[in-house]
Symmetry: C2
């Protein structure tokens, strides 16, 4: 991986920062967040401004350019990758390390007095704007909204915004009509005396209207906004997308069944002016919900007296708690996905000794096998297919220049998943096709112990995910080891593979209590820079737990694995497992064999079944 | 325990809320927090306003009185106690339960439009003022500062503010002179470009000046403020206290060694006017530190442009990380304390069968035995001596009307501690003098497993205490049990038994990373309302841990128990322990025997030694 050469780009950007054509008055620093106008985690190529300016293409990171400096903040998953993708014009700011300055503190430490720091108000979230603005003001600087994006101004061949075909999902997949969802949402609004709700997150809009698109790779969403009132529904989406009769019928555009369930459609770009119009007509007591992670630009349209900023929206929570149809779909998706992944491992075992399988070809094979499964739509994120030292790059993606050959001598880590019409998958397995070293096995076993500790945890209703995070680390910590990422994230149902508002992380940010029906990942790891990476990830469903007692009738919860792919026994040092942990592994493998074995038989995949039977033998 | 009759008091308070003599304009609600003007947890009798108005005398709680309603918010430790101490004019608001409204939401739900809510600005912390004020404003109400306290206005026989003799602590106890501490503090101020620091917490002032008092029962502090500048030291304390030559010499009042280490003394009450004067003379760039938990009244004296509000002060952190002299003192205090407590248990065993020992007489005996130990000053909190169902009242304090007799049939819980000149102790043991039931043993053993899980935890440098809280609960959670309080709090050195900024709790509020030298408690519990209470508490020291590996050279930490009192084996169901847990118990008991046994021999306490030898037999 060779770094992007950024000398010329930085020169142009700095010129734009001083230039009267681009900007009302010169700014001394410009912030380039990684998001789009919807604060999406995965973004369309036209929105990859941070990557364009610095070269780093991980999913999280913020660049700041001043007259003299250029720095990029990212988290532990990306330290290695960012240092390889950026040239020496850039300083890597490693978030989460004690010595690393925050963006605010760094700016304050280097800016001349009374500096102006610019940012595109559509790209920065309202809460980030507020924090940054406050910190800068307290040091005598100011944060200013730069309406024309300065990266766009210097980006000559910037791609166009995508505008893909929409698909409508029926009850068979969603369990609820969009009308039911709107009615439930209005119930929540009435409870809190809210008259309007501005929806800006793309996955919330897709979920609410039971629509999907493919504007952003891996995420079946489409560029849109929605403004939901107590008796009106405004959808902002390119009108070409609404020509399709199936979509018109789904949204009842031509014959609405009820006046308050009539969808009014507006062009995507008109959200600003239309929101202005709605705000101008507000009654004195009207309150409008908007997520505090929505763009600063849109948030500031709503007068403060009417604005009820919330850390996450009721749609975000409703979407996180899957209904029975969605749970059934997620289970089915994971069964199909497991068939494909088991086939991959059986195939790799045969092919690797020939020396022809690479990280890229293995990832391609995984995609090919998944695509044979029913209702396959695409991948849910770029496959992390990594051999040996590449495995230590937490969010590695194989490129021709980094591509290693799979062998009998190195650990192989594959973190992959797919979108099916019935659900989204995300699974990581770490395997060795020869003989792993004692150290590799030891580390793998600590990671496995952490994975089991979370998966088998029983905890009271109302517990937040961050209280489970240390369970995943205890075995590693005991030996002085750790990993620098959270343990789990929410997973959408034929939606984004990362979603809020719940998760399992040492970070306590926006962490809503776990509830039965939520679906999260359980993915501890261990990474030895330059040698190998280990991660073990299942997607798990929050389910009620039966306990001996029931303190204050609170009830208890636990997890049920949806991912059913064998964990390689060869990597486990069974001496390090307790009897309970051995039982967990054997129970898990029995379930893999029963459920996935039955599906393989149904699909007539004999070779994979033989592999599955062998890989699910009990530990004694 | 019979509830306080509050009809007449509430009538008078409501009259004062409307009365032009007490207040500029009528208020519709009055908030009575539990603190004093220093936001102390334990308070002097003259400051027990919340207890005066509602009867509930626990250490945490806020009362709010409106024209029609009166409600008290407190946490899980106090649900039972508060419900017993308050009459039916009061509604108990159980904090931490999902269905309980916050104070703000409750006020908004019941107040008429455009209400005024009053509070004494000296008693409410600045951060609480801010949150409350914001929430009320957003609903059309306002929070107003009522300068004359309305409780004081109706409290006829309110006690005077205490003014006890000060004692100066020498280097032997403190390890650092107050001059060293001021110099270190100024170093921190210079690092952050801070010119002034307003110290309002009583334990911070006592620690900084190496002085102690006894103004507040159990807490060796004295009423004072301090304003520390880069070259000046202003101490606000009653002048009568400065007559003592030992104190004059300690503070070098008559012959300061250096100009910038000269202590200027002012009357306690003049802090407001003197702070005003300091603020009037500030240079444009001067910044002043004040804790965001300091009183709203004092905080608002500092102009916003000069105010640097911090969640905890550098003194709070410096005080939390004990120096070698303080650690040595804390160890010695815990050894002496253990001798006294072992003697108590040996005595109880003999006396209980006679049927004459009560909760109160056992607590008195514990105090008597502690008072025989060197450098004993007093108790560090009211002894919780509780039998059977009283044990389920988490912060129970035996009173004549609740006093139960210790017997061979019920569980006995004693949570007690003392102040010695060299350190502060806090220990809980739960024992049975007859035969505990299987269920009592089972619950005790889960609590013990939690205690061990925390005490033996190994975790990376920089870990916050809240990430360890679930370790204490996992065994209880597995069986559907839990406890509604945090697992541990910071402990002062001959200072407050509860101190910040670290702790071990599911609440993440103001939780600074654990560091070697910090001292916290480890005290999981289980409480069965109406039956029994179990808690097992050691004070533990954060120490570096030796680990097999050392990921990214971060280093690891663990805990060393300072409390060395046997854990009653009779209460343990050893079948529920793992081999590691059994080893922990045996190692702990070996250390108790060695360390406390040696001290008992030195003190010639033969009977207690026999008891100790018997109680520390290894589990096989």
């Amino acid at each position: 991986m060779s770094p992007k050469i950024t000398v010329e780009l930085l020169r142009q950007l700095r010129q734009a920062m001083r230039n009267g054509k681009c900007i009302a008055e010169p700014i001394q620093a410009y912030i380039i967040p990684s998001g789009d106008a919807h604060q999406s985690e995965y973004i369309a190529p036209c929105d990859c401004r941070r990557e364009f300016i610095c070269g780093f293409n991980g999913s999280a990171g913020t660049a700041i350019v001043t007259e003299q400096h250029a720095a990029l903040w990212t988290d532990g998953r990306y330290f290695l990758q960012a240092s390889q993708q950026m040239d020496n014009n850039w300083t890597l700011m490693k978030m989460g390390l004690k010595e690393t300055l925050s963006q605010e503190d760094w700016l304050i430490s280097i800016l001349p007095e009374n500096s102006k720091v610019g940012v595109d108000p559509w790209i920065i979230a309202a809460d980030q704007w507020k924090n940054m603005s406050k910190a800068l003001s307290s040091a005598g600087h100011s944060l200013v909204a730069v309406q024309a994006n300065l990266i766009d101004a210097i980006w000559e061949d910037r791609p166009a915004r995508p505008n893909t075909k929409l698909i409508a999902l029926g009850l068979k997949y969603t369990g609820l009509t969009w009308q039911d969802k709107i009615t439930a949402l209005r119930g929540k609004m009435a409870e809190r005396k809210i008259s309007w709700f501005v929806v800006t997150a793309l996955d919330e809009i897709a979920w609410l209207f039971n629509l999907r698109g493919s504007d952003i790779e891996y995420n079946p969403v489409f560029f849109a906004y929605a403004i939901i009132g107590i008796s009106s529904i405004k959808l902002f989406v390119d009108s070409k997308r609404l020509v399709d009769p199936a979509i018109r019928q789904h949204l009842e555009l031509d014959s609405p069944s009820k006046p308050d369930l009539t969808v009014q459609c507006f062009p995507y770009e008109s959200v600003f002016s239309e929101l202005n119009a709605v705000c101008a007509a507000l009654a004195p007591k009207d309150k409008m919900w908007i997520c505090d992670k929505a763009s600063c630009a849109l948030t500031q349209v709503i007068p403060k007296a009417h604005r009820a900023a919330i850390p996450y929206t009721p749609l975000c929570l409703a979407k996180a708690v899957k209904n029975p149809t969605e749970i059934q779909g997620m289970k089915m998706a994971h069964i199909k996905d497991a068939v494909a992944l088991c086939e991959l491992f059986a195939w790799l075992e045969k092919e690797i000794p020939k020396g022809t399988v690479t990280e890229i070809s293995a990832a391609d094979k995984a995609e090919e096998l998944r695509s044979q499964q029913k209702d396959f739509v695409g991948l849910s994120f770029p496959t992390i297919s990594s051999v040996g030292p590449n495995g230590a790059i937490i969010h590695y993606r194989p490129l021709p220049e980094t591509n290693r050959t799979l062998s009998l001598n190195e650990v192989y880590l594959i973190d992959s998943g797919a979108q099916y019409r019935d659900g989204t998958t995300d699974v990581t397995r770490t395997v060795h096709f020869g003989t792993p070293s004692d150290y590799e096995k030891e580390c793998f076993t600590y990671v496995l112990k952490g994975h089991i500790a979370v998966s088998a945890a029983v905890f009271p209703n109302g517990t937040k995910g961050h209280l489970l995070d240390s369970f995943a680390r205890a075995a590693l910590w005991d030996s002085g080891l750790d990993y620098l990422h959270g343990t789990g994230h929410g997973v959408g149902c034929f939606l984004n593979v990362h979603e809020g508002p719940c998760g399992i992380s040492y970070k306590t940010f926006a962490d809503e209590p776990l509830e039965a029906g939520m679906i999260v990942s359980d993915e501890p790891g261990y990474y030895e820079d330059g040698s190998f990476g280990i991660r073990l990830e299942n997607v798990v469903l929050v389910v009620p737990a039966k306990t001996k007692y029931n303190y204050r009738n609170r009830g208890s919860l636990t997890f049920e694995p949806l991912t059913l792919v064998p964990i390689q026994l060869k990597m486990i040092n069974t001496d390090l497992l307790t009897q309970k942990e051995r039982d967990w592994v054997n129970d898990y493998h029995r379930k893999c064999l029963e459920t996935i074995g039955a599906e393989m038989e149904r699909q007539g995949r004999k070779e994979a079944l033989d592999w599955l039977i062998r890989e699910t033998q009990p530990i004694v």
